[in-house]
Subunit: 252 residues, 2 copies
């Protein structure tokens, strides 16, 4: 299933600033055309969540956020913005730790700092939250691109997040459509002919990390990357299946 | 620092089966030449640890492993091979959990299942362990490639490992030489001109994950991948600095 050709990571340049109400798939198609790029069968599209959140209006105006007593207390204890803590609490189902970093579990079940709430890549005076249903957002773009091109174009929506035991954030998949997020090695053999123990690879997270090499996090403005030449299973996948339930929290 | 060109992931095909005592850098150069490939300035070489371990003789013969009482008890409890548990204990500084998966902290400080001990990609009848000092192994290859090409060729040595909170393993960097493992965004601005909060990206782990897209874990035999077009800081980096100390174990 994994093909052994070259893989290309292709940035979509000159992506316009996204506005509330925009259709991301339309902007992708228009910007591709302007860049002289064409999608081919097998391409995967990776999109940073911030432009999805903005298009979907998942924004909080800083000066309209009513800060609760609880948020004010946490913000004082950890020395962070009251508004960011307040919005993080609203988007969280659970607070895991307050210090050294304010880590929550979001309503989607994603464990990340400040529920993914950020002022970077947000319009001035705003905080940007994660999309309400990133799998659904991915499906919407996947459907639209597939309809236009005539073949399945899988879509991955990403966020960068910190990790236990390892320093530095990496990009992960928070929304997936048009492909399985996993690669299964069951039944495959290694170069010595040994059957591989059944290992499960999180392909979607690895694709997210690969795309981040081009996205960076700064003003280069590369919110969308094409991954060309990757082998994948064309299942009805989602990113929510990547998340472990409480009882499986360590490794399985 | 992050360049906005295309990034290419290039597999080195027809890599020979590595033997104990081989010089990996020599095999890389020979195999590149046979494939008609040439390294250019800016290329990063990613190598799966198993061929390094084999070249360095970090192998255990299954029928020569003397199983301790402790290992036998754990193996029985968790229903795994006694030899694999025994070797995992020898390579570990600490056992974190036995079930649902046997997770240890290796002597390098890496948290992974069975101390990274594997029978996949090991010669028949053998178990392959992690290299004793993967940063040193990377430096050795980096030095040799740099001497031959006349420019710095950073090297990353990888292993796949499971993660808390997320299903499916991903490839990570266990050895780094010739580059910083991190990208720092401090002082950069987003598309709106907002100063980015100081975020630290683990570039080396993202490069490892990108390379795994070609390595797979099966018999395609792609233990070495060239990453072309990635921006990096040419520091004297290592992978050991990615590991969090005990006191920082969650997020920072």
């Amino acid at each position: 299933m994994i093909k052994i050709g070259q893989i290309d990571l292709i940035p979509i340049r000159d992506f316009p600033v996204v506005q509330v109400g925009d259709e991301i798939s339309d902007i992708i198609l228009t910007t591709l055309q302007k860049s002289g790029l064409e999608l081919i069968q097998g391409d995967i599209i990776v999109v940073t969540h911030s432009i999805i959140s903005i298009a979907e209006g998942k924004l909080y105006k800083l000066d309209e956020v009513k800060v609760s007593e609880k948020a004010a207390k946490i913000a004082e204890r950890i020395g962070h913005s009251q508004e960011r803590v307040e919005v993080a609490l609203r988007e969280a189902s659970d607070v895991l730790t307050e210090e050294p970093v304010f880590i929550t579990k979001t309503k989607h079940g994603i464990v990340t700092d400040f529920s993914g709430i950020d002022s970077s890549n947000a319009p001035p005076g705003m905080l940007v939250a994660l999309p309400d249903d990133p799998d659904e957002s991915a499906k919407r773009i996947n459907d639209s691109l597939t309809e236009t091109t005539g073949f399945n174009v899988p879509v991955i929506i990403t966020d960068t997040h910190g990790r236990p035991w390892r320093k530095g954030a990496v990009n992960i998949a928070i929304g997936v459509a048009g492909m399985s997020p996993f690669t299964y090695n069951v039944g495959k053999k290694d170069i010595y002919g040994n059957e591989l123990r059944g290992s499960l690879i999180c392909l979607a997270d690895q694709l997210a990390s690969a795309a981040e090499l081009l996205m960076g996090q700064a003003d280069e403005g590369v919110p969308v990357v094409i991954l060309r030449g990757v082998g994948f299973d064309e299942d009805d996948g989602s990113a929510s299946v990547i998340i472990r339930s409480e009882s499986e929290d360590l490794f399985r």
